[in-house]
Symmetry: C2
Subunit: 621 residues, 2 copies
């Protein structure tokens, strides 16, 4: 970071840089025929100040250790971000003209396909939670001095996720985090709610405990001074509330409505815009000096294998508890593992990890969106974050999970209290759509261990697997089925019961696996032989075993799951074997659930042993 | 509402009522063996004040017109709510002892199975957005004088959705809305973030423009005075920040940690708690007077049929635009229809409705959670709300959609810009998981019109259908296939191409239907006859037609969809015919998408005519 007062030459250099960013943003979107140049122009001075005066980074290596981090929360200003990195020298400026084409990773909104992007943005309100995670990593985990900058739009200030992050950043005293709100007054379809009422922004942010600085977002001296003030502010995060104009610098676009998400038409209009901007370039201006990050010795921490599972066949334990036990053990052998909670740590058992490793455990209180955003931020810093809550409450953060999938983020999600088998608390607490919402995401791994041993092993497997993993966990205790030596590869399954005379394959996981085993006994007593498969890996799925078993049982499968019928385990099975002419019957929850005793509900909603026996007899008759 | 100062007798009566609510909450949870008595006890005085001094309602008819509305956002205090209605006389107190059983609708968390519940709660942070919708209805739609009270927990104040609602309520000047925060200091797993720092709460709420009153939440005179002050406050909503103690009134529970979600153990402990509470009952106290709502003449508005579709076969139009055209036309014939937007009304075309019916159109700015919560609130007031945004951004509000499904809410959701066919904006803007997340919800109807005529008709069908409906809409223009006279019943489909020699049934909807029609032509030219079905109704699905077509085409189906592979249209087809031995092959998006031209992406991700032809040839070979 340069000195806190700009020389006239430095000021001119920054102003020229901002103008170049505007020119490049106009040109690239105009060539693409789509994009958001007006949203780039309002923020160009802020970005110029960050990239060419404030931030410490290596322009040839965006992932250089201990670099300051920049998150473009207003992802539609992507052309501005790309122009800044081109201006810094990472790639040739002519690449900018490939914007938004299939053959370039300079996409319409930024994704981590690009080396300088930590997390995909473009769904508004997500940048600040991600920034919280990156700043948590610096302050509490890696204890580095890099700073994190998050550039937000004004329209996105209404998103609740922003205020979750604002609250958590204050609570965690993230003075290494600096948000900038580009208050350009105009949203997509209308002026923003607060327009240019800068004082209204100020009272909101200061009310939540932040240090807030109102600046003229087109005055580079003021912007730079604001960032220096932020860096001097201790124990609290700082926000720069920058009053700007959308389309700044282009006469026919500046502060005009109806320019959201519209390129300047190619031809004369584009030329006029570029001519106007070019005229704003000033002579002189020193070469822009980019400060490199301070060197810090690094070493990959040693990771050891997880000790053997403490569970013994015949014991009884809830898979959620086994998760907590495994996470605590994993923490001791893998220093990259961090934990995140949203005020249910005594139910998900992450409190075990939290008590043992308080410096690597982050309590998000009841803020699931911030939990996932912060987890993705931590993952972008090389950590292996486990975020756990009730499976039902991941629905609250589904947009964050979606964006994490697009980002190929290395986060691990653990959803407990799945299905009607949680019992008395009722529908609002029952995760019954979690497989549907998770399994549809690209690149995700979805695991559903039925017993404590399997959960214990899969926690380590999830940590070692590169990519997003979802682990589904039940509330009730269930018998331990597997010995400590059993292994559970991703994409596998376990055949628990089989004989040469089987006439039906029953596929289940979780609580319904035990119902299937009960049904097996009852069917056997009635002289009916069935096969029972523990499908602990839903995505990827063990197509080979499913198909072989179906072939061996007259091409018939019965699936049973404590999940709604659409998009669950049964549909995963159908997706794997549905083109083979196998007959797949599904038992699942097909109505709005109710409070009641777990066993009673499992039976009532048609996924218990009684229903399995009935369905099996009906299918094979 | 009684006078604003309580007489000593009135005060005693309220205090005794609060004590009775505590006793009933302890007794019912103790009998159930689960529940949250400590969370009931902190709020008992607030609820007593509302039910027995402040609110105007009919204790025998909770749905009486123009009644004040009460939303229990902290749904885990359900036993307190049930106790209040029993105390008011709606049902016998002995029913409270059926709490949390399968045979009683007094569930663990409240649902609208109960006549006095507008929306299911239990997922925190949802009550205030719902309250916003109920208050919007009073102030702007029905123009009634009922007031809306929302009782929140302190822990849930961290949920971002709360701040969306806080911002929107201020912006809409909802002075008929009163929130109460039960600041009982203790969360589930730890003390809350702000504990008893009442001033921290005050600056947050006043920073967002609310009138905030700090009260001792166990001082009934202060509580009642606070509610009267709220009623007198004009142009801005009011929040009562009530300092309380969890477990208030029970010596061994009051302000103690580790009592969240735990009943008092049956036997001596319960007796001790009830004895302590009983000793707090005071002699005298007037009979509690409940004020009835003011009578307002009501008449069901006349609803006329929608005029004929303006679209003609051979024209070209985007389904999202047809939605906007239909919604505007519907607004003129159905006065119950209201619209909600989240700053994309110029993309979803709800701006047409908004311009024509500004009093029935609610701009939520970029706050999708509040949009859905408010829609559910409006639905609870008998309105037919259409809430539209990009399909991708419904993921932001998925928890609200989940709770709306549990509530059997009559909301209509319209998701535009689905799939890779949106093109250059890239993955963050593409709805590719919307069918999975919607179709899994119980009781929902999922419709996916392919052309403008079908969309136009289905908008009316959705409005007239009782229950949640999701309409999926594409971004690009596509040909109009159907004449204005065509009808599209829920659960139907259209066979667009067929012959006696068909060897494969191709099932598609939206953009891929047109790709299937192109593939049909190419296959026909190659001498291969296939059947093409427009599956505009995904849930419920036209099983009969699918099965008959499959039977007629050698038991083979090929599905094609601009959606991820799991949980989409293909899985809906599999779910319908998968037990019949039909071979179903799916074409869907199976990778993280990219920016590019729409046609290019449709082809690149394997859902275009080229891939359909290839797959068809492979399947029938």
């Amino acid at each position: 970071m340069a000195g806190s007062t700009l020389s006239p030459d430095q000021l001119t250099a920054l102003q020229n840089a901002a103008t170049h960013l505007r020119i490049d943003s106009v040109r690239s979107t105009s060539t693409a025929g789509s994009g958001h140049p007006s949203s780039c122009c309002s923020a160009a001075d802020i970005v110029a100040a960050l990239f060419f005066s404030i931030m410490r980074y290596d322009p040839k290596n965006p992932r250089a250790f201990n670099s300051d981090r920049f998150v473009l929360s207003k992802g539609h200003a992507a052309p501005l971000l790309y122009a800044a990195w081109a201006e810094a020298g990472l790639f040739p400026k002519q690449d900018l003209l490939k914007l938004r084409t299939l053959t370039s990773d300079l996409e319409g909104h930024p994704t981590p396909r690009l080396s300088f992007v930590d997390m995909a943005t473009g769904s508004l309100g997500q940048g600040l939670p991600v920034g919280v995670g990156i700043a948590l990593n610096a302050k509490y985990v890696d204890k580095l001095d890099y700073r994190t900058y998050v550039l937000m739009g004004d329209g996105e200030s209404v998103e609740g996720s922003v205020w979750e992050a604002v609250e958590l950043a204050r609570q965690q005293r993230l003075d290494n985090l600096c948000a900038i709100v580009d208050v350009n007054r105009l949203g997509q379809s209308d002026p923003t709610m607060l327009q240019h009422d800068m004082e209204a922004y100020r009272v909101r942010w200061t009310g939540f405990g932040w240090h807030a600085i109102i600046v003229d977002g087109h005055d580079l001296s003021a912007i730079v001074a604001g960032f220096h003030e932020a860096a001097r502010t201790k124990n609290t995060p700082t926000v720069l509330l920058a009053k700007t104009f959308k389309g700044k610098g282009i006469s026919f676009m500046e502060d005009q409505p109806n320019w959201h998400g519209k390129p300047v038409p190619q031809g004369a209009d584009t030329q006029k815009a570029i001519d106007e901007l070019t005229q704003q370039l000033k002579p002189n201006g020193t070469a822009r000096a980019i400060t490199r990050p301070s060197a810090v010795p690094t070493a990959m921490p040693a990771i050891s294998p997880l000790p053997a599972s403490p569970y013994k066949v015949g014991e009884s334990a809830a898979t959620r508890e086994a998760f907590g036990v495994a996470l605590e053990a994993l923490g001791a052998v893998n220093p990259l593992v961090v934990g995140l909670d949203a005020d249910v740590k005594n139910s998900t058992y992450t409190e075990k990890f939290g008590k043992k490793f308080p410096g690597r455990f982050f309590e998000n209180f009841i803020a699931e969106q911030n939990m996932i955003g912060a987890a993705a931020g931590l993952a972008a810093c090389g950590k292996v974050p486990f975020a756990a809550t009730f499976a039902a409450f991941f629905t609250r953060a589904y947009d964050f999970i979606r964006m994490a999938a697009i980002s190929q983020s290395n986060i691990k999600l653990v959803g407990t209290h799945v299905g009607v088998s949680i019992g008395e608390d009722g529908a609002s607490q029952m995760g019954l759509e979690d497989i549907a919402m998770m399994a549809t995401q690209p690149g995700i791994t979805v695991l559903y261990p039925s017993d404590a041993t399997c959960m214990y092993r899969l926690v380590e497997t999830a940590a070692n697997h590169k990519g997003m993993v979802y682990l589904r966990a039940g509330r009730p205790k269930s018998p331990v089925l597997y010995g400590a030596e059993e292994r559970f590869p991703i994409g596998g399954s376990k055949i628990l019961r089989q004989s040469a005379t089987d006439t039906l394959t029953i596929v289940a996981a979780g609580i319904t696996l035990f119902e299937a085993l009960k049904a097996y006994d009852q069917l056997k007593a009635a002289g009916i032989a069935v096969r029972v498969i523990d499908l602990y890996s839903i995505v990827p799925i063990d197509r080979t075993t499913l198909l072989e078993s179906a072939r061996a049982t007259e091409n018939r499968i019965l699936t049973v799951e404590d999940h709604y019928a659409h998009g669950g385990l049964g549909d995963a099975v159908l997706g794997a074997v549905g083109m083979e002419g196998i007959r797949v019957h599904k038992l699942a929850v097909r109505a709005i659930p109710h409070s009641g005793k777990p066993d009673e509900l499992v039976d009532h909603f048609g996924i218990g042993a009684r229903s399995i026996v009935e369905a099996a007899k009906h299918i094979i008759k």
